[in-house]
């Protein structure tokens, strides 16, 4: 027992030493979307928040919904509790790996070696330093716990162990939908070591199959190619890429100095794995085959995603190889020395680099978020315009709109800020955060906005400088896009508009506005909805005219509540003058009671693009 605890202490120490910055890492990217769950719960209800499928049909109530809801509820927007829970779960994983290897193989020290080999894999870098990747830590916890319970049952026939296995198996679906592969792993363990107990396997497969069908039925149709499954020849190329990545020493996007040395280390590590597996096969060690089955089963569902190859997906498959190699290294330490050293140093280096990168990126986000909150305190009620936001800051922080988590905070990108960022249309459009130039000028002149720059790491107030730029650049120009929920843009509205409501305005049956046309704009876009009438009007017809010429006519079906349409601008449009846009809606709604308003459509944005 003392030896086992010493081994566990060693694994914990290595985990903390290697991934230490991950414990301190603040939030980034998707984390901010999950942090908004508490607000969403107020509108949609708890059940919907916990179980409604998100993008790609994922439903992960334990590793995402409850994790964020619970810890945000207890600690607020504090990353540390999230990181402590993630690290604690990972330490538990190490214990479970050790126990499973030790119990099944009986090879002294193989468990702790397996845990250490897994820890060194660079695939763990992301999971250990990004809170939204907690599913990759919690899922193996259930997989390993279920395997341990199954082994107890296989050894002793304990009914409690059998129930425990089922509990861990079912809970695993709350962590990650890939839990459907558990029956394959359970079958491997059973058929390799206690073949006579195969009869309890079919129910596991039945439940997994039913969940897989349910999950695919719930998944929305993919509009992006990123998460499309490709069942073609690309499967082999993707699998080959993952095999190479499994060494922990290479990723497709990695830029490595001394590339030939890295390649040599890759070959050495890969040769070590192949030789190790060959040696186990020659000795008829079943454990090697179990490790391979684990690797293939947990990686298999990812292989059709040829456009979304990520080392993060190797977090759990790497356990399989680590468990198999743990036995080889424990039995033949001298033979294994060179490959293990090459792997541990090289892969561990990239793991730490990943953690350091995520830590630095999150620190930028924390500084931006904290700085903006302080700016709000200094300038209560003002709009905050951010200029010189880097692409990294935009995609790491702003894209998931963390500022909505602070009541009263109104943050925009300064005009032009969207053009500093990489293009990731599948993730979002930076343009949605931009306050158009004329509106920015008006807000600055009215003293209703301040401008801050995060360039250089600290947030600087550059309002004075920016006011001069805005006056020069956007003189008396009209904005090409009018956000109906933005009071600063009301000057561009003509007749037929009701007062601002929550981010939109109702039009009357006929309403008009003026827009500025730059040389680049080609089309008119309208975003609107018909409100809570539940189709009482039936079909609604919308006609848009530009400078008196009809450019588009659309019919909203009775059951369709929103409108997002585009129409080409007329040929020969005079862009030097304001462009007059008119919308006509039929039929209209009439509010009940005397003096009830005439309502056409509720518009969010109208603009030229």
């Amino acid at each position: 027992m003392r030896e086992r605890l010493a081994g566990f202490a060693l694994a914990c120490a290595v985990c903390l030493w290697l991934y230490w910055p991950g414990l301190m890492t603040w939030f980034a990217m998707d984390d901010f979307a999950w942090l908004g769950l508490r607000q969403a719960a107020g509108d949609a209800g708890w059940l919907a928040v916990l179980f409604s499928p998100k993008a790609q049909g994922t439903v992960r109530p334990l590793s995402e919904r409850l994790y964020f809801l619970g810890l945000e509820g207890l600690f607020g927007i504090e990353a540390l509790p999230f990181r402590i829970v993630a690290f604690a779960t990972q330490l538990l994983n190490l214990w479970l790996v050790m126990r499973l290897v030790d119990r099944v193989t009986g090879v002294r020290a193989a468990g702790v070696v397996a845990a250490l080999l897994w820890l060194a894999n660079s695939a763990l870098g992301l999971a250990m330093s990004w809170t939204s990747a907690y599913n990759q830590i919690l899922w193996p916890c259930f997989l390993l716990a279920a395997c341990n319970a199954r082994w107890t049952w296989l050894e002793s026939g304990s009914r409690r162990a059998r129930w425990a296995e089922w509990a861990f198996f079912l809970l695993g679906f709350g962590a990650l939908e890939l839990q459907v592969v558990y029956p394959v792993i359970a079958a491997a363990l059973t058929l390799l070591y206690r073949r006579e107990r195969w009869r309890d396997l079919p129910p596991l497969f039945a439940v997994a199959g039913a969940y897989a069908v349910f999950n695919r039925a719930m998944a929305p149709a993919q509009t992006s190619t990123v998460y499309t499954l490709y069942w073609d020849g690309s499967l082999f190329a993707t699998f080959g890429t993952y095999l190479r990545m499994a060494t922990g020493l290479w990723r497709p996007e990695l830029t490595r100095e001394y590339a030939e040395w890295w390649t040599a280390a890759e070959w050495l590590a890969a040769a070590g794995v192949v030789a190790g597996l060959g040696w186990m096969a020659w000795r008829r060690e079943k454990w090697g085959l179990f490790g391979v089955v684990w690797f293939l089963a947990t990686l298999g569902p990812i292989v059709p995603l040829k456009n979304h190859i990520s080392d993060y997906y190797l977090t759990v498959p790497a356990i399989g190889l680590a468990m198999a190699m743990g036995v080889v290294v424990a039995r033949r330490p001298v033979w294994a020395l060179a490959p293990v050293v090459a792997y541990a140093i090289g892969s561990g280096y990239w793991a730490r680099q990943t953690v350091n990168y995520n830590y630095a990126r999150a620190e930028q986000g924390r500084a931006l978020f904290g700085g903006v909150q302080e700016a709000m305190r200094l300038h209560p009620g003002n709009l905050i315009l951010l200029t010189a936001v880097s692409s990294e800051q935009y995609w790491g922080v702003m894209n998931d709109n963390p500022f909505r988590l602070v009541p009263g905070l109104k943050v925009y990108l300064a005009p032009g800020g969207e053009e500093n960022s990489e293009k990731h249309p599948e993730l979002g459009d930076p343009g949605r955060f931009v306050l158009p130039g004329p509106a920015a000028r008006a807000a600055l002149e009215a003293g209703q906005a301040v401008v801050y720059s995060p360039a250089g790491g600290k947030l600087r107030n550059v309002t004075g400088l920016w006011l001069g730029i805005a006056k020069q650049r956007w003189g008396d120009e009209l904005s090409p896009l009018v956000d109906m929920g933005q009071p600063l843009m009301a000057g561009q509205l003509d007749k037929g508009w009701h007062p601002i409501e929550q981010g939109f305005r109702w039009s009357e049956g006929r309403a008009s506005l003026r827009l500025g046309a730059t040389a680049e704009v080609r089309s008119l876009t309208l975003d609107g909805f018909r409100g809570g009438e539940a189709g009482a009007r039936g079909e609604v017809t919308i006609v848009a005219a530009v400078n008196g010429v009809d450019v588009g006519r659309w019919v909203m079906p009775k059951d369709d509540s929103s409108l997002a349409v585009t129409a080409a601008l007329p040929e020969g449009l005079d862009r030097a003058k304001p462009v007059r846009v008119e919308v006509r809606i039929t039929p209209v709604l009439r509010e009940p009671g005397p003096g009830g308003r005439e309502l056409g459509l509720a518009f969010g944005k109208i603009g030229l693009r």
Binding site: R366, A367, E419, N420, Y452, N461, V462, I469, R473
Partner: protein, 184 residues
């Protein structure tokens, strides 16, 4: 029990670490500083003058631009009668020319077009144009650049890529001539 102790110790140590890192959140209220007449695009303080279309700093020295990019500059204090010089130091990598054999850079100062620049060779270049004094009134001059052809997002990475720019500025008086070497 030992595990519990470990987790508690972990929490204590990390709470201490968190307290320290919060000091990194900084904000500076600035009022009186001015725009520069010339900017080194890698200088964080100059970043606010890069109005649109500049990607992140690379190698601490330069930035890729997008197809359209703009800077705000302060007019030089002393401008000769013929006008100030607008300059831009930029580079065109081989990779760009392989995919885009020729492109044209149009230049607008406060909305008025200057002579465009034809680009068809890889290398380092310095663009220079004369800007008449009537465009240099006021406290701010905005300069817009646009390339008619560029590297689309996805062709190299996820950015739209134009030129590699290291500096842009307006120069009033020509730089002083280097002193003549003393006769031996």
């Amino acid at each position: 029990m030992r595990r519990l102790t470990l987790v508690l110790a972990l929490a204590v140590v990390t709470l201490a670490g968190c307290k320290k890192s919060k000091k990194d959140v900084q904000y500076v209220e600035e009022g009186g500083s001015q725009l520069s007449s010339a900017v080194n695009v890698a200088d964080p303080k100059a970043a606010i003058q890069l109005l649109r279309g500049f990607h992140d700093v690379e190698n601490g020295a330069w930035r890729w631009t997008g197809p359209k990019f703009a800077v705000a500059l302060r007019p030089p204090k002393e401008v000769p009668a013929e006008g100030a010089k607008l300059f831009m130091e930029y580079a065109v990598p081989d990779l760009f020319i392989q995919k885009v054999p020729s492109t044209t850079l149009t230049i607008f100062v406060n909305g008025k077009a200057l002579d465009s620049e034809a680009i068809s060779k890889a290398g380092s270049f310095k663009l220079e144009r004369t800007v008449s004094t009537d465009l240099l009134k006021g406290d701010v001059v905005t300069v817009d650049f646009a390339l008619d052809k560029f590297l689309a997002a996805g062709s190299v990475d996820q950015r739209e890529l134009g030129l590699i720019v290291s500096a842009v500025g307006l120069r009033g008086t020509p730089p002083p001539a280097a002193p003549a070497a003393p006769a031996k």
